[in-house]
Structures are given as C-alpha cells and as structure tokens.
Amino acid sequence: MKLRFLTLSAIAMMTGLFACKMADNKQSGTSSDAVNIVAEGTPTVAELTAAPKVPAPVGTRAAKKLIVNLETTEIEGVIDDTIPYTFWTFNGTVPGSFIRVREGDEVTLNLKNAANSVLPHNIDLHAVTGPGGGAEATTAAPGQEASFTFKAINPGLFVYHCAAPPVPMHIGNGMYGLILVEPAGGLKPVDKEYYIMQGDFYTKASTVKKGLLEFNNDKAVAENPDYVLFNGKKGSLLGNNMIEAKVGETVRLFVGNGGPNMTSSFHVIGEIFDNVYIEGGSTVSHNIQTTMIPAGGSAIVEFKCDVPGEYVLVDHSLSRAFNKGCIGKLKVTGDANPKVFKKGGAEKQKSAY
C-alpha cells in the first residue's frame, strides 16, 4: 500500500518533467497495471549472484514465473583482514544474493534455513506487496523450509532483509540484500553493472571463542558502529577486488543500504552521477554529486567514465569512510582524456606585448 502510494504520488508530481524520461525507460508506472500482467509458462529458477556481480538484465522478455532459492546461514567470515566475525547471511554472502526480476513476474521465494543454524530466520522483501513483505510466511526454524509467492507489481530497486526477532541483530549480522524489479522492457542497457551494499557493524569479542567478533547489542542501540562497510568486509572493493570499467563505458551501480541504523551519503570521488534513480524508485534525477540512501533503502546511480584512474566510493559521512571502512574503488582504464581532465595549469597565454 505504502509503496503504491509513494509511486503514485511520485508519478503525479513528476508528470511533465520526467514523462519523457519515463517513457524512455518504458516504465509502466502504476502498480495496478502490473497486477494484470500475466506471467506465462512453467517456473524457472532465477539466476542469483553474489556482490559485486549482478544477474543478466531482463531485457525485452515477457513476464514469467520465477523461483528464487535462498538459504539462510550463520557462518564465520572475515570482517577485517584476518579478523573473524559471526555473520548471518542469505546464501552465504553479505550482502545476500542479488535477485533480478521483471515487473509482472510471479516470484516463488523458497527460504531454507540451514540445518545447523541456531536461530529461526525469514525474509521481508521490500518489493513485496503483502503482510510483512513475506516475513511471516517465510519464518523457518533451523532445518526447515518456507515459501510464498508474490507478484512484482512495482518496478524499482528494493532491499530485502531478515525480520526475525531481534531484527536489528539479524540485520546487524548481515542479513540483507537487493532485489531489482525491472520495468517492462528492461532498464536501458549499460556497459557495466555492479552490486554494492552498505551496512553498519557493531562488534565485541566473543567470550566463548578467542579472537572472534560478534554482534554487540549495546553499541547497536547507541548506533555507534565499529565498522561501516561496503559488501560486508573491509576492503571488499579495494586492491584486487576493485570494480572496473573502461574509458567511454557507462557504469550503473545498484547501491543498497542494509543498515541497520546508518543513513548513507553515497558519493564517488571524482565522478558526477549522470542519473540517479532516487531511493531506487522511478524518479530519475541528473547531475548529482552525493545521493542519500536510507537504511533499508537504495539508489541506482549511472555515470559515464570519461577519464582513466581510480575512483573512490565512499559514504561521504567521511569518518565512516576513513575510520570505519566504508570505502571502495572503481578502476577506470583507457586513454587519457585531456579535454576533460589533465594535470597542470592552463597553458600560459603568450604575452601580446
């Protein structure tokens, strides 16, 4: 309901200004249209990817029936160099698998909770119109499976997360990811697409296992994270893990913010976003330096790479970037482009005298 209202009001407000932009993207606009789209055929299993990769675009395909298989796990992973942390995940990664569907698709979500999990888990997808976003229907005790089916009626980039109690703890341990609902006809093709998700982490030393870090409830309540990270690990987008593009290519970043608490001021140092799908919805804004991504929200940003170099991705609340780990890099290779950028001052004018 809320989503529908937001979409409708956004559309009402933007009529005229963005009408042509929206037509560009062939977005059908209201969710009520999508309700009547028929998803044909037998269900197929959806391609899922771990960050920073994303599944293939939907392109011009018709709406169909999809099966999304997710497994919730509680695993020891590395949060910082060699420091282990007990993560809770969807499909073993933080963020969880990227899900990519088309408006009008009928999606059956199977959630399996690993047999060796300690706790029950579930999934609330913000792309779902229905009670709890599916959370109640998918609550699965350790070793159990639960399913529900929904129709993706609102296009956009949506967060999903575990909503089992205590919710901040499940999210704080990494139980979030993104689901993209592409409009009919698909998003405009670009050269490179990447999946980035920010999250804040609150830690303390485990009293049971030496060296292991665990969720710290007090720090979470105080909203004082030790780490603010892209893709669940310090350096996940640095060194060999930098995302890449070539000069002349257009890059689209699907950026989410799992929270549980921090709002992100997403910025790429040295780039200007040509297009920002504000809050992951249908309104496209242009020429943006920094875009705000709420906890439990997202943004799609697009820009063309004109100049080679390493571009730093940050939460521009900069202590998080430089002290708490929220930093990554995009490496752009190719020929220099002095028309756009070059070192050194302007050539000295020869004196007329």
Binding site: G132, P166, S206, T207, V208, N217
Partner: protein, 281 residues
C-alpha cells in the same frame, strides 16, 4: 494448572529461610495415567527442586506477574542414551515406525538405525531432532511431563549466584554469546556450571521444548501488531514484550514461535518436569 496456593505460601515462607535446606520429596504428584500405548520407562534423571514464586515474564506487559507453583525439573536435558532406552521400550517412537503426524522427516536424523545413534554421538549428549510429541511421550513414559514455558523461563532467570539475574548486563550477554556458537549440542550434559537451582545446561547446549511452547502468540516476524488484532486473537493483548533488551529471551521466543510440534531440529531437545508437593526445612 492445579492450584496449590497454600503450598505456594508455605514454599515461599520456607524459601525465605532457605539456602542449605534439606529437600525431601513427600509426595510427587503423578501427572496423569500412562496412556495405554506407552510402556513405562525406568529412567531416573536427577531432578532439582524449584520452589517457584511470582515472576514477570518477558512476553507480558499487562498480565503482570505470573505465579509458578513449586515443581521439580530435570537437572539437565534428556540424553541420547536415555532416548534410546525410550525407543527400545516404545518401538512406535522409532525412526522407521513413527507416524507422520508425530514427527517430520528429520526425526532422529543422525541415528544410524532405529536403535543406534550416530557413531560419533556421545551417549550423554542431549538428544536432538525430536518432535514435541516424542518429547511429550518420553516424559509420560517416565511419569513426568514437559516443563511449562513459565516454569522453564523461571529457572532461566537464574545465574550461578542469584535467582533472578536478568538485571545484570552480563547475564544476557553471556547467554547470547552461547547462542551464537554452533554445534554445541554434541557436548555432554551436566559438565558446565549449574545455576542457582542446581540446574545445568539451560543455555549452553540446546533449545528445549516446553509443554506449551505454542502459547506464544507473537509471530515469528515480531514487528507486526498482529496480536492486537482482535479478529485474529481474542484477548490477545497478552503478548507484548516488556523486556526488549533481554535479547536472549527474545531469541528463545523467536525460536518457539517458529516451530510446530512435529518439527525436529538439530539443536532442539528437551528435559522433563513434574508437579510436586514438597516440604523444605
């Protein structure tokens, strides 16, 4: 629940003078007739005396204090070897014979056969992958019952040195630390430190079935005000959590609300309890 108000009164009086009291079981109340389908089992797990009292449960805001009557509780969870004895005496509860209505397909999943548990499983590790029905039947076969949720939580308030440690910040922290560790269920019972009541393993090994686990009306997703919806639950306002920072209790309620009685889970076992009429001096 039967009412022994007089006894509670006495027990409370006695509780005031407690510490090194001698416990003498006068007359254990046998919970009920053994159903004719069950064979009595001679397993005598040592029980701890719990005088009961009033306590404010985690889940309630407006029902106020709940009275827990005196009862006996197994000092530790039921083990693999004890459960083996049970299925040998009661073959209808063996893995290949159990009715679907009583257990899902992972019932005693790690066992090698109907009467052999896994080779690497310790005989004195807690039995897991048992359904509520199986736990309930075991309890009946030893003339006990499962503890009620309130009884279990009453005992769970204690740490080593006090009856109610919930106000101590380290109490909840320590439990959550334990909850985050996997594969704890493979360790033997009664090896860690007992709590104030002399009860072992309330937190460090497994989740445990309670008799009325299905009395938790909050849903597994916990955010909705579903329980305020009169069309779904009558008199349903009984279930809002007061103690939201007691994450450990919150996690137990999360688990309980996510299970059904036929579920069998790798880290979910049980212990038994019994009504009692007890005199403490």
């Amino acid at each position: 629940m039967k009412k022994y108000f007089g006894l509670v009164f006495i027990a409370l009086l006695i509780a005031c003078t407690k510490e090194q009291v001698t416990k003498q079981v006068m007359n254990d109340k046998i919970p009920q007739q053994l159903p004719d389908t069950l064979r009595k089992l001679n397993v005598n797990t040592k029980m701890a005396y719990i005088p009961g009292g009033e306590y404010k449960p985690f889940y309630s805001s407006d029902t106020g204090l709940v009275t827990v009557h005196p009862f006996l509780m197994d000092e530790r969870p039921i083990t693999n070897s004890e459960f083996l004895a049970f299925v040998k005496a009661n073959p209808q509860w063996q893995r290949s014979k159990i009715k679907q209505i009583y257990a899902d397909s992972s019932y005693l999943r790690t066992w090698l056969s109907d009467t052999t548990f896994a080779a690497d499983a310790l005989p004195d590790a807690p039995v897991c992958n048992v359904s509520w029905y199986a736990a309930n039947a075991f309890a009946q076969s030893v003339n006990k019952r499962l503890p009620t949720l309130d009884e279990w939580e009453f005992v769970a308030m204690a740490d080593r040195t006090s009856k109610d440690a919930r106000k101590k910040p380290e109490y909840s922290d320590a439990i959550i630390d334990l909850y985050l560790q996997k594969d704890r269920q493979f360790q033997p019972v009664a090896k860690s430190t007992p709590n104030y009541w002399g009860v072992y393993n309330m937190f460090d090994l497994i989740w445990e079935w309670t008799e009325d686990f299905n009395s938790v009306l909050t849903t597994g997703e916990s955010r909705g005000g579903k329980y305020e919806d009169k069309s779904l639950f009558c008199a349903g306002s009984a279930t809002t959590s007061t103690d939201l920072l007691n994450y450990a209790a919150f996690m137990r309620f999360s688990l309980r609300s996510s299970v059904k009685a036929h579920y069998t889970i790798a880290n979910l076992g049980f212990r038994c309890a019994r009504d009692t009429m007890i005199v403490k001096k």
